[in-house]
């Protein structure tokens, strides 16, 4: 290759390469470095250093020219990313703009991306509920996708491992399908949320729970995190800007600085991975080919072990683009399932209402989480006309709405002295499990390429009848529950939003027992290329209802230890 970087091969050789610096990639890198492995972490975007590169973190509301709002110009230029709740004036610099990285929507798909060191771990919603065997056994029990090759017992200790390091606040709720973990003190539900939780317990014979959602925030004694340079969450709720306290977990505040301290980590930002290099003679992957984001120069890096954690859909894209004589359809793709059976979470439906009770109370201060409804549909057995179920968020709050009546001095005094409290507002949103299927897929476009000459990704995902029935059931059930609790003015809505806006896209490189129907084995290795590991969203066989990031973190830690154990056998 003419423009191949001339630095010696030796200089570009590491023991391990991790592609991606987001929540799963940086976890893999941290574990590898802790185990003494010289690791190169490759990131397609620019570097974002903890504290230094959080330009808006301490800005006051009045310092934003539009007080947080997006301008029309930005909305017009970015119809997709502007839909994301966190894409606002204070954090828009961390999101990929529509024009920068085009992709092909064979069906509508809102692809929310963060291309920088730390990836989306900077702006994530920080919800970390464990999965259970009710999730891992789902496909086998209900006859969809393929059976997971692992069970809860395989991942349990890795959940503990990552929770202790990341810092997870929560309560031991004793719910079989939402296992307890290594928790820092939880954040209490407020008086109305507690009332609702108690009402649900009574009305549904103890089968429907409302708990305080477990979140990746340091709460209570922060001593254990001092070694990471992190302190307690200050309840600012400005997380998407990057946290100056390291109060929530992100790659930038936690795993990356930790891995750097070992002396074993090298970070290569601005490197767009073109493909994984497969050595036909050796019968294994030997490295990755990258294109410098800025100079467009091609460079290769080599290692014994590779982790491809580029985020769900981009990991698919890299493997699809890694073709060779042995693998003409993408690396490790003997089965033809690469890119298929992608799925997501169904976040379409919401229910809101008001509550006149507990009128003497309000709340003060801030908290980084709220209420959570673990799945209650089809948990122990099939009981509805749709498969699987949904979890839901739940929260209650009230305020003294600004009194904007009048004009002149009357208005001024109304504004400066908020008067009556309004009723409590209660709200819920669904988080539905969707079923991975052959017809939902991603593939490389045959003609369109990106700025680096890499084929654009074509995304084709849609809801199905199962999802429609689930939306209907959620709206009915939540309305019934709100009614039983005495909530009034109950409003339901179905946004019909396209897949993607949930930011929980998964699959395409799924785990499974059989190489004929899956890409990865029980140890997160490509069946056909065992020195390549994948532990991000692409590896998910099914989607559960729980937020998936914690599971990616646990998978990454588990896989890193497996890789090191394997290398010692040789």
């Amino acid at each position: 290759m003419a423009n191949l970087n001339l630095r010696s091969t030796q200089e570009r050789t590491y023991q391990a390469i991790v592609v991606g610096s987001g929540i799963s990639g940086a976890w893999a890198a941290k574990e590898l470095c802790d185990l003494g492995v010289k690791t190169l972490m490759i990131e397609r975007g620019p570097d974002v250093k903890h504290l230094k590169d959080y330009p808006t973190t301490n800005m006051l509301p009045h310092e934003f020219p539009h007080r947080g709002q997006l301008t029309e110009k930005i909305k017009e230029e970015n119809p997709v990313i502007s839909k994301c709740y966190a894409f606002r004036e204070d954090a828009m610099h961390f999101f990929v703009k529509d024009a920068e990285h085009p992709y092909v929507q064979e069906k509508p798909f809102d692809w929310i991306r963060g291309y920088q060191v730390g990836g989306k771990s900077l702006m994530w919603a920080r919800q970390v509920q464990r999965w259970s065997d009710f999730d891992f056994e789902g496909p086998a029990r209900d006859g969809f996708a393929v059976d997971w090759p692992i069970r809860y017992k395989d991942i349990e200790k890795w959940y503990s491992h990552v929770e202790k390091f990341a810092g997870v606040s929560g309560f031991k709720d004793g719910i079989a399908h939402l296992p307890d973990g290594e928790f820092l003190p939880g954040y209490d539900l407020n008086v109305v949320e507690k009332y609702f939780a108690e009402t649900m317990k009574k009305e549904y014979g103890g089968e429907r729970h409302v708990i305080s959602a477990r979140c990746a925030h340091i709460h209570g004694n922060a001593d254990a995190f001092a070694a990471q340079g992190r302190g307690s969450c200050q309840n600012r709720n400005l997380c998407q800007r990057g946290c100056p306290f390291g109060g929530y977990f992100s790659s930038n505040s936690s795993t990356i600085p930790w891995a750097l301290k070992t002396g074993n980590l090298t970070i290569r930002p601005d490197a767009v991975v073109h493909s994984v290099i497969y050595d036909e003679a050796k019968g294994k992957a030997t490295g990755v080919r990258i294109i410098d984001r800025l100079t467009k120069e091609v460079e290769e890096f080599y290692a014994d072990v590779l982790f491809i954690n580029a985020a769900a859909l981009n990991t698919n894209a890299i493997l699809l683009n890694s073709t060779s004589t042995r693998f003409p359809n993408g690396l490790g793709n003997d089965s033809g399932v690469l890119g298929k059976y992608v799925a997501f979470h169904n976040y379409r439906a919401r229910v809101s209402g008001e509550y006149e009770g507990h009128a003497e109370y309000t709340t003060t201060g801030g908290r980084p989480t709220s209420g959570y409804f673990p799945r209650f549909r089809n948990v122990y057995k099939q009981e509805t006309d749709f498969l699987r179920g949904y979890a839901a968020g739940f929260s209650a709050g009230r305020g003294q709405g600004p009194n904007t009546d009048g004009i002149g001095m009357e208005l001024k005094n109304n504004l400066l002295n908020p008067g009556q409290y309004g009723p409590w507002h209660v709200g819920s949103h669904m988080m539905g499990e969707t079923l991975p299927k052959d017809s939902n897929y991603v593939a490389l476009d045959g003609s369109l390429k990106d700025e680096w000459g890499i084929p654009q990704l074509k995304v084709s995902m849609d809801y199905d009848d199962n999802d429609e029935k689930m939306v209907k059931d959620y709206l009915e059930q939540m309305t019934e529950m709100f009614t039983k609790a005495g909530f009034t003015n109950i409003q339901t809505s179905d946004s019909k939003q396209a897949p993607g806006l949930d930011i929980h896209e998964m699959g395409g490189v799924r785990m499974g027992k059989d190489p004929k129907t899956s890409m990865l084995n029980a140890n997160h290795q490509l069946h056909a290329v065992p020195n390549v590991y994948v532990t991000d969203g692409s590896s998910m066989t099914s989607t559960s209802t729980q937020n998936p990031s914690l599971t990616y973190m646990a998978f990454a830690a588990r896989a890193a230890h497996h890789a090191v154990a394997e290398s010692k056998k040789k």
């Binding site: 301008t71 008086v191 309840n235 600012r236 709340t363 801030g366």
Partner: protein
């Protein structure tokens, strides 16, 4: 971090948005901030007079002291659709006539009380589909937008959020069951 530095930084990574001039309000940049609006100096002065009536100075500063008219124009220029910008500027253009017809005097010649009465009347305008009704609807839209942005620009200003009702970046530990009766309130006199 230095605020201007921070703002420039956002602008750089977010692709060079035209944000900096608009938040700076410095004289050389100010016209560029309203490039989508056809606003004359006289009209801007009128807008300022209206915002002054909406939140006047008293024991504490009012909208005019806090450059609220600039904020209104920045928001209309940057955050309104083209259609709404046209409605807003049409309403602004029609306002002097509306004031004279309704109150019998130029807006500037009215007493404070008369200005307030006129604005309250104008804020209630919904108009209809006749040519005259369309103009009234534009006046109503212009005034309600102006009131909304006056409130926002005033309440979310450095002055209010640092000197009058301090905004806390660190709101403290959550308490989910506080008796309202126990909350101490201090009255702020405008």
């Amino acid at each position: 971090m230095n605020r201007r530095h921070a703002l420039r930084h956002i602008a750089l990574i977010s692709g060079g948005l035209a944000l900096i001039p608009s938040c700076d309000f410095s004289k050389e940049d100010i016209l560029a901030a309203y490039e989508n609006l056809k606003i004359t100096a006289t009209q801007k002065a009128l807008l300022a007079a209206i915002s002054d009536s909406i939140i006047p100075a008293g024991e504490i500063k009012g909208a005019l002291d806090l450059a609220v008219p600039d904020f209104i124009l920045v928001m209309v220029n940057d955050c309104f659709t083209k259609e709404n910008q046209e409605k807003f500027t049409a309403g602004l253009q029609a306002f002097p006539d509306y004031a004279e017809k309704t109150a019998g005097k130029k807006f500037a010649d009215l007493s404070s009380k008369e200005k307030e009465t006129l604005l309250l009347q104008g804020l209630a305008l919904t108009g209809d589909e006749n040519p005259e009704g369309t103009v009234l609807a534009q006046v109503g839209y212009f005034l309600s937008s102006t009131k909304r942005f006056t409130i926002q620009g005033y309440m979310v200003s450095e002055y209010i959020q640092t000197e009058i009702i301090p905004y806390s970046l660190i709101p403290g530990e959550y308490n989910g069951a506080v008796l309202i009766a126990d909350i101490q309130k201090t009255r702020v006199n405008g």
